[in-house]
Amino acid sequence: MTTPHPDQSPVAPILAVEDLCIAFVSRDGIVRAVDGVSWQLRPAEMLGIVGESGCGKSVTAMSVLKLLPGPPAMYSSGSIRFRGEELLTASEARMRQLRGNAISMIFQDPMTSLNPVLTIGEQIAEVLILHQNLSKRAAWNRAGEMLDLVGIPDPRQRLRDYPHQFSGGMRQRAMISLALACNPAVLIADEPTTALDVTIQAQIMELLARLRREMGTAIVLITHDLGVVAECCDRVVVMYAGNKVEEADVSALFSRPCHPYTRGLLAAMPGLDVAADAGHRRLAEIPGMLPSLKQAAVGCRFAPRCAAAQERCHGTIPELAPVAREAPDHLAACFRAGEAYRGELA
């Protein structure tokens, strides 16, 4: 009774994104790629950010390390705080201290994300020398341990290999060992499995889950693969057209999706039950396309594609709010989220 359950104690978030707005300025207008998005990452948590291509999830991820080239990228408002420290106004020198050290990132395409003319060992040792002041020899040894940790056989030998001598899955393992070399508090994984074979995908996700357990790294997993989210994440943020449209614990989101877009995404997910139906059922799809983000929204961004849209959806922007009193942590930006939660929506 005296020790509170860890889930109930308020844990300070390690990374807090608040009302983030990112715009890209081009000759034919301003594109609001991310429009007022907030989320929090708690220590050792795995947060999934899902959405279709172009919804702003990668831009959000890149913005945490301020890797977006500006111009054209502009951080028009909001805040990104890492352990309470504001990053949007932090100097470039301070950002360099954090990058690869306290906050790391892995990218979608492991085939092109490693430098082809440097050995794997040089690339891993480099961050250790830079951030941890290790000697060349110590960094090299540590790099070998990292390769071992991510499950690359014969690691001492493989340190001397170049990326082209590694397979796709091994390269992503090497990327992960590079990102985790300095034992960062936060790892941002931007579509880490998208470019890989399905069997390799599962291995990489298992590896990330294991490393999270062993090293206590909090992970932001950016993906459009809901299956991966269901398996690994604690909480999920669903993004659509630069907005956060729903956020919930992973079990709540999958059992009771409340935003029509989330429901559409889940329906579009091929599952084993589809196979059981002997393939007669056509995969559901969400009709229409992402709207242009050049104009300011007057109503719900999703309304033109939404089957449940009503008149008010086109004229008023729905606020993000808890879907029900008994589910304060389940947020959705939809007028009919409550109906969906209670199962009243078809």
Binding site: L67, G100, S113, L114, N115, P116, V127, L130, H164
Partner: protein, 312 residues
């Protein structure tokens, strides 16, 4: 190692073709070689004597193999005009040319590579545009225009540099470098422009690659990012351009040496052509072509040093 050997062996047929062409130079020129060598004033006996001494009356293949045999031993024949061995004449003239070539390339690379890197890093800014403008200007001005303009300004008016001539390094470093400064700058600007533009475009391409984003996500400083991660990836096209530049220089020095009256290979070439001194022309072409082949070989071998994906 196997690749190395193959690459070196592949040079042999190229050199053989060069040898055939150089040999035929004399025989493809219109008219009887003996008459050409003898010149307008030679009598019939003179021509017959030339034919005898040079073996021009023997069958062509026999002449060729005899000639190749001599060349391999370092005997490039005798100048018709001075009566000196061609090899000796070339050796006498080789020093200024080598210095001009080496310093011209050093000058071009020293300025062009940093300029290209910075222009790529600052792409789209006034600095980038200034570099591009400078490159286009250097590109469009012929060596003799730049050369004479520099001489007019720095030699005639300011008197900082001698107008022309060459001083060997053994005469002291000061006179040596003062005589070479203007030829090197006027000849080197075009290579600097070429190389700066090449470096800029290659670096620009590399800087857009995913692994550069990875390097930034690692927290690397800009100089390290540019030099260690980007430049090494851009090295192959840059080295190719440097190699091509050196090869182009072999003919480029002819103009530079003429403008600045430097007694090098370039001058010797011009003089020999004007005198129709065929053995000397043959010798120069042979030496130049060989140098060209060797430079290409070295460039090829350097690729592997910069890019591990190029297998040996």
């Amino acid at each position: 190692m196997n690749y190395l050997l193959k690459r070196i062996l592949a040079v042999i047929p190229v050199l053989a073709v060069v040898a055939v062409i150089v040999f035929l130079l004399l025989h493809l020129a219109p008219g009887d070689p003996a008459v050409i060598i003898g010149g307008d004033t030679a009598s019939a006996e003179d021509i017959e004597r030339i034919r005898q001494t040079l073996g021009l009356n023997r069958p062509l293949p026999e002449q060729f193999f005899h000639w190749v045999g001599q060349v391999v031993q370092g005997n490039l024949g005798t100048s018709v005009f001075t009566g000196m061995p061609v090899a000796e004449m070339i050796m006498q003239r080789v020093e200024p040319t080598l210095w001009i070539s080496a310093l011209t390339m050093l000058f071009a690379v020293t300025f062009a590579v940093p300029m290209g890197i910075l222009a790529a890093w600052k792409a789209g800014t006034w600095f980038d545009r200034a570099i591009s403008g400078l490159a286009v200007a250097s590109f469009s001005l012929p060596v003799f225009v730049i050369g004479y303009a520099l001489v007019y300004g720095f030699s005639t008016h300011l008197g900082w540099f001698p107008v022309q001539g060459f001083k060997s390094l053994s005469d002291g470093f000061g006179p040596f470098i003062r005589h070479l400064a203007l030829p090197v700058i006027s000849g080197g600007l075009i290579y600097m422009a070429l190389l700066a533009r090449m470096t800029r475009s290659t670096m620009l391409e590399v800087l857009g690659e995913d692994y550069i984003r990875t390097a930034r996500a690692k927290g690397l400083s800009t100089p390290r990012l540019l030099l260690r991660h980007a430049l090494k990836n851009a090295a192959v096209p840059i080295v190719t351009t440097i190699g091509l530049g050196i090869a182009m220089l072999l003919s480029g020095v002819i103009v530079t040496e003429s403008v600045f009256a430097i007694p090098g290979i370039g001058r010797l070439t011009v003089d020999s052509i004007l005198r129709r001194d065929y053995p000397v022309i043959q010798g120069i072409v042979l030496v130049t072509a060989t140098a060209y082949v060797v430079i290409n070989l070295v460039t090829d071998l350097l690729y592997g040093l910069f890019d591990p994906r190029i297998r040996y």
